[in-house]
Amino acid sequence: MSTYLVKRLTYMIIILFAASLLIFCLYAFTPGDFISGNMKLSPERKEELRQIYGLNKPVLERYAIWMKNAFHGDFGYSLAQQKPILQLFNEYIWNSFLLAIVSTFFTWLISVIIGVIAAYKQYSWFDSLIMVVIFAAMSIPSFFIGLLLIKGFAVDLKWLPPGGMTTTGSNATGFAYMKEVIQHMTLPVVVMTLLSLGSLTRYFRSNMIDVIKQDYIRTARAKGLKERKVLFTHALRNALLPAITLVGFELPALFGGSLIIEKIFNWPGIGQLYMSSFSSRDYPLLMGFTMFIAILTVIGTLLSDLLYKLADPRVKL
């Protein structure tokens, strides 16, 4: 186990190094930067700024500097916002996390319930209906459903605000503030839940179908247990267990924000920060964000492998 962990961690570090080099080169070779995009600056001033930010040095040297600073906990400085990257991430990430955790909660809740019922009534009309709905949910372009809901519920019906996290100019605090945020996050949460509902429901449904066929379920029924108890205590537990491996894969989504949804709903999260930095070519921030997601992905994969071992001791690592 410990040799496995050492091996795994070494490999993780190598992969992340390679990823950092690739990410850095990609951004370094993209034409145009934050300074050249600024019309107000004179050529001399631009040259001066390049000197200050070290942009005139060779790419590899810049990469070395970037990595050296990263090891000292300094992930760079956003040119557009004039703040350290880490501080910016800390400001925006929790807004992203709020959206992600609430929609993840609803996704899991709804997909477990629907998955269990659909599996129990396999091949019934309800099951077929659910399958079609699942496919529909998996096939919607996320930005389009977002726009459609904004058009319907915010523009036409005026039930909910179209975007942002609070009403512009609002100074609400305490309970009123909470109410405002909840109103603003309803639409994005609905979209995010809808988009991830499909695959998870399918997963629970097929797990549940496998479990229901097991002998111990027949035994439980033969004992004369109530059907609800058989389903939810005996079957569901075993169907849920493999799902803990999914927790690891959720990690990038939980903290990495959602580029498209946050952009559409103008939610002040880390994904929106990325999108707005993209148009201003704020490379330190873009690199930091991409690297951050890569780190989360690697950790998430390791986590899910370890959880898999935890859930099923038969698995050899």
Partner: protein
């Protein structure tokens, strides 16, 4: 020895014929079973309908996709223009159909490319193992680590910065999509290969002294074809969605070449978004209908072709 190799050669010549006969009846059986799945059949019919609509429909339209008509700007749907006109007086229905040509082509072509690259590299990695496997799979791991959306965004920004002509962007977008699509596929194919290469019939090919190329392309790949067909079908839907996201943000195929994604871009204009939903809702619905039909059909295929993965 020469007599024996002669025997083997004739046996080898006969074998494909036999295999073909068995295969065709197996395929026929699969098609028969697929036909019984009404949902999958209707998915297939819808896909065919969308293809016909996009590729033949514009020929029947009295309007051309890029012809500006300033007298007919921003008109709501009417008997003359079923889906209205846009800010340059172009017929939206005609443009939606023309956009479908591009979106469907990009989706299909990038699927073909990524399945080709992914299955080839995966097969080579799984078959030869060792150093080749290490190199291919480490590259795949690396690409899977970096989130694909930012990767595609950077590529799109590069295209814009280098001022790639709009006609060529379509082809580069295909390559971009297959570039992020192949690693997952390669991993899957490699896994299949690792288990298939240990089977008895592969030992038989070693005894027969077949060449590697023949083992790979005549014995191993045919065995993963059903799996590849299923993945390829589902992959088209994903590619269409991905392309629409890129084009919506102006980083994929850009105007004046219409795609479903960049037509929805008009929703970024507040007035178009609020007052002229005919500009951006139809292309969005087209994406939705096409992708859902492809996914349902692909799932039906999976039930028939991939018996291990029964629902």
């Amino acid at each position: 020895m020469s007599a024996m190799s002669g025997n083997l050669a004739s046996g080898g010549a006969k074998a494909p014929f036999k295999a073909n006969a068995v295969k065709s009846s197996l395929w026929r059986q699969s098609i028969k079973r697929l036909m019984r799945n009404k949902l999958a059949v209707s998915g297939f019919v819808i896909v065919i309908f969308m293809i016909l609509l996009c590729f033949i429909g514009p020929l029947f339209s009295p309007y051309s996709g890029n012809h500006n008509n300033l007298a007919m700007m921003n008109k709501a749907p009417s008997a003359k223009h079923w889906l209205g006109t846009d800010q340059l007086g172009r017929d939206v229905l005609t443009r939606v159909m023309l956009a479908g040509r591009i979106s469907l082509t990009v989706g299909f072509a990038s699927m073909v490319l990524s399945v080709f690259i992914g299955s080839l590299l995966g097969a080579v990695a799984g078959y030869y193992r060792g150093v080749v496997d290490q190199i291919i799979m480490r590259i795949a791991d690396l690409l899977l680590t970096i989130p694909s959306l930012p990767l595609l965004f950077i590529a799109g920004a590069m295209l814009s910065a280098w001022k790639v002509p709009t006609d060529y962007r379509m082809y580069i977008v295909m390559i971009m999509l297959s570039f992020v699509g192949w690693p997952g596929l390669a991993r899957l194919v490699r896994g299949e290969m690792l288990s298939l290469r240990e089977r008895e019939y592969m030992q038989a090919t070693i005894v027969l002294g077949l060449r590697d190329r023949r083992k790979l392309f005549h014995h191993l790949l045919p065995n993963i074809t059903p799996l590849l067909i299923v993945i390829a079908t589902l992959n088209i839907g994903g590619s269409i969605l991905m392309e629409s996201v890129l084009s919506f943000f102006g980083l994929g195929v850009i105007q004046p070449t219409p795609t479903w994604g960049n037509m929805i871009d008009s929703a970024n204009n507040l007035i178009d978004f609020q007052e002229r939903p005919w500009l951006w809702i139809p292309p969005g619905l087209c994406i939705f209908i096409t992708v859902i039909a492809i996914n349902i059909f692909g799932d039906g295929l999976r039930d028939v072709l991939d018996p291990k993965n029964k629902r």
